[in-house]
């Protein structure tokens, strides 16, 4: 048992934190969010230089062969800074490609930061059921053609290629598609996503199946949990700071016991969430046992969903009117925590899955 980060993990996290503190402050982020592209190519290039885009990919393609556990601290830092770059979508799609014959031809560009990806799986009406997709793939001569619609594809507007799931006679399989123009959307938490319409769209087969989609989604869920913990940390830290500085009736409002106890409960919620994020990241790296992995991820998602709701709502409430203002970062953290609570399945979904395992 050892909760310490090793030297490499610590160095990476430190440099990520230093970079974000310097170049990804609230004002810098505001400009990135407002930009046409909705992300910063410079920031992405820096991520690549730091090795983030290669970290979880096999060494044979130029990656570092790391796992989710190596990214816990990085994702926490992303959550604190509310990073909007399409890191998670790129990792998800890359994970699918890494298991395919195309790994060698595609992954190096991803790892070097020259290519961003998105993972197009979810469709309208499926809610969080990963098996509910109706996009189809059929073979026409040598080519595969996809037909269907994908929704809320995170990172699609800035992606260069898309990994798309579709039904074949073998069940669900994955395909690589060149990104054409898509209708970009801004999500509630200020990221970019797109609706995707596939009309006899040419695609390269990647293989894979529903189990792979589940594995990829669990991997991303665990990382999203760590990210949520970072966002909670910011929400707690900034609320604590506010309680100490904001005065009413001549004293800091942090002297009011009712607010103190609520602050303590936020703090405990954050620590409990952090424990579950650690657990989930550790279990997704132990790929030999899919059931254990799924159980840990669902458990973590339940806790993160519940506590993200609690911490986000309290952080705004304890800020009073200021918490409602777009000018304070805490309101943006509220948005991120609201979205992340439901990302890859809300508490209800994971309660059902947890109990069934």
């Amino acid at each position: 048992m050892n909760f310490d980060y090793n030297e490499e993990q610590q160095l990476l996290a430190d440099s990520v934190r230093r970079f974000l503190a310097k170049d990804y402050g609230f004002e810098a982020r505001k400009k990135i969010v407002a930009s046409a592209q909705g992300y910063s190519p410079q920031v992405w290039a820096t991520f690549a230089q730091m090795g983030l885009t290669g970290l979880p990919f096999p060494a044979e393609f130029g990656g570092f062969g790391g796992g989710a556990i190596d990214l816990v601290n990085v994702m926490e830092a992303f959550g604190e800074a509310l990073v909007v770059e399409p890191y998670l979508p790129t990792l998800m799609a890359g994970r699918a490609i890494a298991r395919s014959p195309l790994a060698k031809s595609v992954l190096p560009a991803v790892i070097e930061g020259r290519m961003k990806l998105a993972f197009a799986h979810i469709e309208k009406g499926a809610r969080y059921d990963l098996s509910k997709i109706s996009t189809t793939a059929r073979k026409s001569g040598d080519a595969w053609l996809l037909q269907g619609e994908k929704s809320a594809v995170l990172g699609a507007p800035m992606a260069d290629k898309l990994v798309v799931s579709a039904r074949t006679q073998n069940g669900i399989e994955l395909f690589l598609v060149e990104k054409e123009r898509v209708k970009a959307l801004t999500t509630l938490d200020e990221m970019r996503a797109a609706e995707l319409t596939l009309k006899a769209t040419k695609a390269e087969p990647l293989g894979g199946d529903l189990e792979l989609v589940e594995e990829i989604t669990d991997f991303a869920s665990a990382l999203a949990c760590a990210e949520a913990v970072g966002a909670m940390k910011f929400a707690c830290d900034t609320t604590l700071e506010y309680l100490k500085t904001r005065k009413q009736f001549g004293v800091p409002i942090g002297t009011f016991q009712a607010l103190q106890h609520r602050m303590v409960d936020m703090f405990i919620a954050q620590e409990q969430a952090r424990s579950m994020a650690c657990l989930a990241c550790s279990k997704v790296d132990q790929s030999e046992n899919a059931k254990q992995r799924a159980r840990a991820v669902s458990a973590a998602k339940i806790k993160i969903a519940d506590n993200a709701r609690h911490v986000s709502q309290e952080s705004v409430q304890l800020h009073g009117g200021m918490g409602m203002s777009e000018e304070l970062k805490v309101s943006h953290t509220f948005r991120r925590l609201t979205v992340i609570a439901g990302q890859f399945g809300d508490a209800d979904h994971h309660l059902a899955r947890f109990a069934a395992l």
Binding site: G125, L188, V316, G321, S325, E327, D348
Partner: protein
């Protein structure tokens, strides 16, 4: 004990409901129902329709346009407005400035302002909160210095709702900075928003909407005749307004409409036990709050006493219900959907977080009950 409306009360409700059904323009109803932005024109159009009918200010004395309805009728009317999905009646003129003028204003002030408020010719806003004085109203710093027939006002207000629509603002200002108690030396002024020296800065909220503002006063001249009540008696005026009887703090009618809409909208989840249980508990809480509200109303009717600290309970539970309604509505949207309504619902969830903060945060309401009702 009879929890049902009497025949007369039911008939009145039916009359109001029938009139609303015929008179509330469909486009306004739809805007409200789809959480769309309501423009100043939308708000004032509905105000004028009610004014024409003679129903825009039921609580006013009959001579100024009031309807003469009793408490229960006024409650029914307000709840029916909410239930029908009518645009809100902005309270700053009708339910805040007017009662103050009726109680403390000079005859000239009444003659000048009340008819214009009634007809919707002046749009009012409220200048209470200041940076650093949220719940602690008496710590306000905006200064008004008397110079002959004018006050010269300097300072800043914050969270001023719809100030960007407003023609007038009523303000608490400090006319004497050297008093012992902070509640002394405050006066109540009516200020023209178009006067030189008044500037606005929008405060955009979490959902991206522009609803509240900062209002800055730089050497704004306010004629002494625009002061209401005595100089230094502003706190008395403010306290009167806080205690002013409000019928619909719980916003039951509005929440009933939202609940019906939520049930319809979430029909695809009707076999989702978890969602349904949250919905049931919410419905029960609302049922309870409606009876609680009626019980308080009944007591007011019997005793003739203002509602007192009980209203705080309606504020707390009412806003919790309103927030939960939008949260469940958000849960009911398809997470993969990005149509206008789904997006509006999610933004509404953000926006509704304000309800437990504004109009005396729910923490302040709990302080009030602890002190006034429980004697702690």
């Amino acid at each position: 004990m009879d929890l049902n409306y009497s025949a007369e009360e039911a008939a009145f409700r039916d009359e109001v409901r029938a009139w609303l059904s015929a008179s509330l323009p469909l486009d306004l109803r739809q805007k409200v129902s789809s959480y769309a932005h309501l423009s100043k024109d939308d708000l004032m159009r509905w105000h004028r329709i009610l004014a024409e009918k003679g129903w825009v200010a039921p609580a006013w004395p009959k001579e100024w346009g009031g309807t003469g309805w009793n408490l229960v009728q006024r409650y029914i009317f307000e709840e029916e407005l909410g239930y029908a999905g009518a645009p809100p009646l902005i309270p700053f003129g009708l339910a805040m400035c007017a009662p103050v003028l009726l109680r403390f204003g000079t005859e000239a002030q009444k003659q000048r302002f009340l008819p214009r408020i009634y007809r919707g010719e002046d749009f009012w806003c409220q200048g209470y909160s200041e940076p650093g004085s949220g719940s602690d109203l008496a710590s306000l710093k905006t200064k008004a210095v008397r110079q002959k027939d004018f006050y010269v006002v300097n300072g800043q207000k914050i969270w001023t709702t719809l100030a960007h629509y407003a023609d007038w603002i009523f303000c608490l200002v400090r006319t004497d900075p050297n008093t012992g108690r902070r509640q002394e030396g405050i006066s109540f002024l009516l200020m023209d928003m178009k006067a030189p020296g008044v500037t606005l800065r929008p405060l955009v909220l979490m959902d991206g909407a522009h609803e509240v503002n900062e209002v800055f006063f730089d050497d704004v001249k306010v004629p002494v005749e625009n002061r209401v009540h005595e100089e230094g008696q502003g706190w008395t005026v403010a306290k009167y307004l806080l205690g002013y009887e409000r019928m619909n703090t719980g916003r039951i009618g509005e929440s009933k409409r939202q609940l019906a809409k939520l049930k319809e909208y979430s029909s695809s989840l009707k076999n989702d036990l978890r969602f349904r249980d949250r919905l049931s508990r919410l419905e029960v809480e609302l049922m309870a709050l409606e009876i609680t509200n009626l019980r308080f109303l009944d007591r007011m009717r019997r005793t003739g006493q203002p509602p007192g600290a009980d209203v705080s309970m309606l504020k707390i539970k009412g806003t919790e219900i309103q927030q939960m309604l939008t949260e469940l509505m958000m849960q009911a949207t398809d997470p993969a959907a990005s149509d206008d309504f789904s997006v509006a619902v999610r933004k509404k969830y953000l926006s509704m977080r304000k309800t437990t903060i504004y109009a005396g945060s729910n923490e302040i309401q709990r302080n009030i009950i602890a002190k006034m009702t429980l004697g702690l």
